[in-house]
């Protein structure tokens, strides 16, 4: 049974469950957002009297609060309501013989406003407060053992092992009057109060409760998950919980842009595409040869998506990558500056129009978005500026000579390394899918071909940015692998290990690797067309370098697969251990149930319930 409600921005949800062992639910609760009254009661006493006790107390508290809430201050009100409930339960117990000894615990809370609440309790039902991700207990259990600890007669460790640690020292119904502990709580935005019966904390760890309370999920989900948690922990008792959430602080501008702003932007995607089309994006020389719809999809839709992701995460990474890819590809094809400028202007115009639309509907959001989207577009312009600077650098002819001189040294070092390693990777490949029986696709390496390959790589290096160290490293590896026509995989695997180096196993570690491999491929393909050789020789060079590239990519991917393999293995090990533990829990539960049945027959029903021992396990 779940109850959810909200009042003055305070969201509340309560849930209760009979558990897996008991047949009746002796817990009760009040979720009354109109009066700000929330109560959890845990009844006790044989012959179905527990549920009568908790329901009687519940009704008494509710009636008392309804009657006196306008004339009494909250602190006095809740204390008096609980006293009234105690007397009511006591009287009810006296009127029927079979209900003698029935009683109930209670933890209740009156939420005065979004900044203040009053918590009161009797017995071992608890209240917790979650603030800034940390949980603190607001109540102290009223058990005999706990009072002995307070008096210094028992240590905390002894109390934990004490056989009567669950025997209550106070409850509602044992006497007409009881002592009620009342605590004032100052609520802050985002705080969460949680009231629960011992069926929750008795079957779920404190860490798990803290994790769920602090998860940020809606109160109704948290209440439901807490119940599930107790059930998964055995569900040996009735379990009830109420989660009360103080209003969240107003979202910051960044959060508004990340959520509402990004969503509004994405909802106007088709408008963005339409404006880009109207402004002539599909006629731009950069997309010549593409179907108009395809051009819109590749350029406008990609930018729209990149801006969306950057708004969502408050970064500029996606627009930066988009601009680099578009401009990089265009420049590699020796494209002119003017069409690229025109293309970016069209996209900026479309973006401004979309932001203006949003601004008409919601001026504040429009203002925030105009800043965020402008920033994203500036990031794109900066990326293109970087590429232009690189282009200018390439004009420096001396760079070619410097690179060539440096490369001679590197080549000598690599040749020495290859001689040392021999063919060991053929017999025992370390990369899973590199097949040693793969046919040798190289048409043979003549002196003329080697010279042409070297010439191509020299040109490719001169076209590579000084900062792109990884791309330059890949180019050197391609040269080594392409010249090695023996069908030996050692050079590819060695080069892949060198390039892979040490990197995290996530997108930030792997993506740059493949970006560099792609860039090296594009540069190599463009450089082949610039060497002084007949077409047939160029084709041979491209084939040798492409085969080398394909092997290098294969070996690199093999290393990625090697790097991720341990994660699955570790998961399988942990899953096996969890399964064993679950079996053990089930076995113990069966044993405990047997003992409980055996013990139940030994209870002396003629004794008052406090003296019967306890059935609270």
């Amino acid at each position: 049974m779940t109850q959810t409600a909200s009042q003055h921005g305070i969201r509340v949800a309560g849930d209760t469950n009979v558990g897996k062992v008991r047949e009746t639910n002796e817990d009760s609760m009040i979720v009354d957002p109109v009066r700000g009254l929330y109560v959890v009661l845990d009844g006790m006493g044989g012959a179905n009297a527990g549920d009568v006790a908790s329901q009687t107390a519940r009704d008494a508290i509710r009636e008392y609060v309804m009657q006196y809430r306008t004339t009494t201050d909250p602190r006095t009100l809740i204390e008096a309501a609980i006293q009234h409930a105690s007397a009511t339960v006591f009287n009810a117990a006296q009127q029927a013989r079979e209900r003698h000894g029935m009683g109930t615990t209670v933890v209740g809370c009156i939420v005065v406003d979004e900044k203040r609440a009053v918590v009161a309790h009797v017995g071992d039902s608890r209240a917790y407060l979650l603030r800034n991700g940390r949980v603190q207990m607001l109540t102290r259990d009223h058990t005999i053992v706990e009072e002995l600890v307070d008096k210094g007669l028992l240590s905390a460790e002894e109390a934990e092992r004490h056989p009567y640690k669950n025997v209550l020292s106070r409850n509602l119904g044992a006497k007409p009057e009881t002592r009620v502990d009342v605590t004032d709580v100052e609520l802050r935005p985002g705080d969460r109060l949680m009231l629960c019966s011992d069926g929750l904390y008795g079957y779920a760890s404190a860490e798990a409760i803290q994790y769920l309370l602090g998860s940020g999920d809606a109160p109704e989900h948290v209440a439901r998950d807490l119940i599930d948690l107790a059930l998964r922990g055995g569900g040996g008792d009735n379990v009830t919980t109420i989660v009360i959430e103080a209003p969240q602080p107003p979202p910051s501008s960044t959060e508004v842009v990340r959520t509402t702003g990004a969503m509004q932007w994405w909802q106007r995607r088709s408008r963005f595409l339409q404006i880009a089309k109207d402004r002539g994006l599909t006629k731009n020389p950069i997309v010549r040869g593409l179907d108009p719809e395809e051009a819109l999809e590749l350029i406008a839709s990609s930018l729209c998506q990149a801006v969306f992701h950057d708004l969502e995460k408050s970064t500029g990474v996606n627009v930066w990558t988009f601009a680099q890819n578009i401009a990089g590809g265009w420049f590699e094809r020796s494209g002119e500056w003017a069409p690229l400028r025109a293309l970016m202007d069209i996209l900026a115009t479309a973006a401004r129009a979309v932001v203006d639309d949003i601004g008409v509907a919601d001026p504040k959001l429009g203002f925030l978005l105009s800043i965020a989207v402008s920033r994203a577009l500036v990031v794109g312009e900066l990326a293109i500026g970087g590429l232009l600077a690189e282009r200018l650098n390439r004009v420096d002819a001396n760079l070619i000579k410097v690179h060539a001189a440096m490369q001679e040294t590197v080549d000598t070092a690599q040749e020495t390394a290859l001689e040392d390693t021999g063919d060991r990777f053929i017999d025992n490949p370390t990369v899973p899918f590199l097949r040693p029986d793969r046919p040798v696709t190289s048409p043979g390496v003549s002196a003329e071909l080697i010279k042409a390959i070297e010439q191509t790589i020299t040109i490719a290096r001169s076209r590579t940015s000084q900062r792109a160290e990884l791309v330059k490293q890949i180019l050197s590896s391609l040269e080594t692998i392409a010249i090695d026509a023996t069908g030996n995989f050692a050079s590819a695997v060695l080069a892949a290990r060198e390039i892979y180096g040490v990197r995290p196993v996530d997108d930030t570690g792997i993506m740059p690797l493949f970006d560099a491999l792609d860039q090296a491929r594009i540069i190599t393909a463009a450089s082949v067309h610039q060497i002084t050789a007949p077409d047939a020789m160029r084709a041979k060079v491209l084939r040798a370098l492409s085969s080398a590239h394909q092997r290098l990519v294969g070996a690199t991917t093999g290393l990625v697969l090697e790097a991720v393999a341990p994660y699955s293995e570790r998961l399988r090990e942990v899953q096996a251990k969890t399964s064993e533990m679950r079996d053990q829990v089930a076995k113990f539960e069966r044993k405990r149930a047997d003992l409980e049945r055996k013990y139940a027959t030994t209870i002396d029903h003629s004794q008052p319930w406090e003296k019967r021992g306890t059935t609270e396990w």
Binding site: P163, Y203, S205, Y211, R232, G233, L290, E294, L298, S302, F322, I326, G329, E332, R333, P432, F433, R435, P439, T441, V505, D506, G509, I510, F514, D515, D518, I522, A525, V528, D535, R538, A539, L542, R543, H549, Q550, V553, G554, T556, T557, G558, V560, L561, Y567, S568, R570, L571, V574, K577, T578, M581, Q584, V585, F588, E589, R592, L595, T602, G613
Partner: protein
């Protein structure tokens, strides 16, 4: 470059490259790679890396159906090798061959990228699942401890 329609010229190599006779009515392994190469030839020039969504979908589908990353890569490798050999023989004009080689290499890198990212995503999921399992183990340990002490106490109290 000659006037040959490269897309058509490569299309006729499908049976040879994919060895379709061997696989009968079934979709031959590596068909998604071959189709991606055709698509790259159709578009012409360089596309934005990783934007071939059809190829992404096809590779992701194969992985989802239980094919290993290694087999997806091996198929891509096989298509690449066979296509290079077949185009060498069937395309007499060197610039035509170069266009095909460029497209095949581009697709090979994309397949490797997709497979690597899928593997990394799997590792992330496994890592998260392990954390959840460890958290569950903590709870189970607490429950076991509680059960143990309950059983000991109950055994003592129920002794005659």
């Amino acid at each position: 470059m000659s006037d040959v329609d490269l897309v058509e010229a490569v299309k006729v190599l499908r049976d040879e490259v994919l060895d379709t006779v061997e696989h009968g009515d079934r979709e031959p392994p590596g068909a998604e790679v071959f189709d991606a190469i055709l698509s790259a030839l159709q578009i012409g020039g360089e596309s934005i890396p990783g934007l071939d969504l059809n190829l992404h979908d096809a590779v992701a589908r194969r992985l989802a159906w239980g094919d290993s990353e290694e087999s997806v890569l091996a198929d891509a490798e096989s298509v690449f090798d066979r296509l290079i050999i077949a185009s060498e023989r069937s395309l007499p004009d060197p610039p035509d061959r170069m266009v095909v080689v460029e497209a095949a290499t581009q697709v090979a890198v994309t397949v490797a990228r997709v497979v690597s990212l899928a593997a990394v995503a799997r590792a992330t999921r496994d890592r998260a699942a392990r954390l959840r399992e460890e958290m569950a183990q903590k709870q189970l340990e607490a429950v076991l401890e509680k059960q143990r002490s309950s059983i000991v106490r109950m055994e003592l109290e129920t002794e005659p």
